[in-house]
Amino acid sequence: MSEPWEDEGPGEVKKFMYVNRKAPYGTIYALESLEVVLIAAAFEQDVSMAFLDDGVYQLKKGQDTQQIGMKNFSPTYRALEGYDVEKLYVEAESMAERGLTEEDFLVPVEVMSRDDLARLMDEQDVILSF
């Protein structure tokens, strides 16, 4: 006999977007977002992550936390693909304001205008902000 929760099937797939707006290490937001994304990956939803404002720094190449005595969690962004989290969006305006280019990021991302990102946010079922 199957357990009741096994009868429910995949259910309705919803669009979840994680909005990341904080630089890493100065606050706990970036790490917490990553933790929640990895946990939520088990629920097989349509997940995307958006990086805007100082959140774009989360994806910066070459992070080295040895001297500040904190864990460098940036390699985890490269592992997201393995959890079917493949849609990573970076806001073009935020990137440019910080003098960054697509080559500065440690994973392949889709750079998107603020207007397009606004429309994409509007298409979501759930938005989680970090």
Partner: protein, 100 residues
């Protein structure tokens, strides 16, 4: 006086507030997310130049490296210091004001 700023200029106005109250001959040390202000080519480079007007500006190297920001990209005239340099700055100045 030594002023410390630990927030990104994109996130908070603490660097601007600090500049408004830091007298000539005082020093400003950028730490934690405050180091973002020291990088050249950002929209806040002018804010940093204001900070440097008549004052010495320092940035904590370990916090730059943690964020993947190269010390080579720090605006010219800003001194990169390590933790030892941080301690020396607090010794050299009679007071520390933290703009949190």
């Amino acid at each position: 006086m030594l002023h410390t700023v630990n927030k990104s200029p994109f996130e908070r106005n603490t660097l601007t507030a600090c500049i408004g109250h830091a007298l000539p001959d005082s020093a400003i040390l950028l730490i934690e997310d405050g180091v973002i202000a020291a990088v050249s080519g950002t929209a806040h480079e002018d804010t940093l130049r204001q900070a440097m007007n008549g004052r010495k500006v320092y940035v904590l190297g370990p916090d730059l490296l943690a964020r993947g920001l190269s010390t080579d990209k720090v605006v010219e005239g800003v001194d990169v210091v390590d933790y030892e340099g941080f301690v020396e700055l607090t010794e050299k100045h009679d007071k520390v004001q933290a703009w949190v």
